[in-house]
Symmetry: C2
Subunit: 189 residues, 2 copies
């Protein structure tokens, strides 16, 4: 790992733990074992670190969902099952970045913020569309509000970075399957 990669890696841990504003460049430098001023040989500004974390992850979420779209599933259920699995795999592989992505994006400035919100809107839109398709094909309940159904899915997936820890007890494929069953069939016997 180059020093530059190390700086970006350490920033994820620090921003998750203390928040973006609560993390100082001196904290970050200290965790690496150099002086704060030396960070600027690897990074233009503090915000560049935040932008990299957010947009690297957005790219991963996008690739994960494009893989699903490429399958051209006939059933909306299949699309959702696969999309949830791929999303949760990205979260599980990037727990710190996921927490930063969700909690610190509001400190992005100007264009970066716009770009970020665009991504979130587009990404959520794909779930809403999948659900609407499922309703039209009578695959899903016709009294469904696609907006709220999408929020149910996205909320649960987003929250995952707050509690999931790779500890060998449960793997993310199992969790994804169980969440999908909850979304599809609910808890009722």
């Amino acid at each position: 790992m180059t020093r530059k990669e190390q700086v970006h890696q350490e920033a994820k841990l620090l921003f998750k733990e203390k928040g973006y504003i609560g993390s100082s460049m001196r904290d970050l430098a200290n965790n690496i074992g150099i002086e704060a001023s030396s960070l600027y040989n690897h990074v233009k500004s503090k915000e560049e670190l935040l932008q990299n974390i957010c947009f690297d992850l957005a790219d991963q979420f996008l690739k994960a969902i494009q893989e699903v779209n490429a399958q051209k599933y006939a059933n909306a259920s299949d699309w959702i099952r696969h999309a949830m699995l791929n999303h949760l795999k990205v979260v599980a592989d990037n727990l710190e970045a996921s927490a930063v992505f969700l909690n610190e994006w509001r400190f992005l400035s100007g264009d970066a913020m716009d770009k970020y919100l665009d991504f979130r809107k587009t990404y959520g839109g794909m779930y809403r569309t999948a659900i609407r398709n499922g309703v039209e094909k009578n695959e899903f309940r016709k009294d469904l509000n696609p907006n709220l159904a999408a929020i149910n899915i996205l909320s649960t997936m987003n929250w995952t970075s707050n509690w999931y820890q790779e500890n060998g007890k449960e793997n993310i494929e199992d969790i994804s399957k169980q969440f999908f069953d909850l979304i599809l069939k609910g808890i009722k016997a």
Copy 2:
């Protein structure tokens, strides 16, 4: 509204918008129209503001769920339906405080943090227990993981403060009913 109440009210708005660390006492004073030093006639410290926001809301969540427990429902479904409704009503009535409660609690210090985490654990535990009861009575699927089912409910409710706005279009009772149907029956036709 007394000045003291005004300070606490303004703190909710500011902490939600800029985060706890990102909000300065000078910002807060400026929004009210006084000098920063004058705030300390009404408040002991910045953290006292955060503690009040978090624990006032925790009290409201607790009262809301105690009302549900007092009903002594025979069905787990009824308990969950009513608990969700009461929880979401508190969120809808306290949108700013709810966002602060969820996003800024990590800046609580020492005992306050412990007390906060205790509350979250106890509160989540009541949902897990309700779900386990429902499974035992064959009201819910017996292959259910009560932990993940509770996370599904709590995630969706927690996320509400991020998107819900009282704008006359949808009232929280409708939303609560639709979320409950999603939790109970899922999206499947």
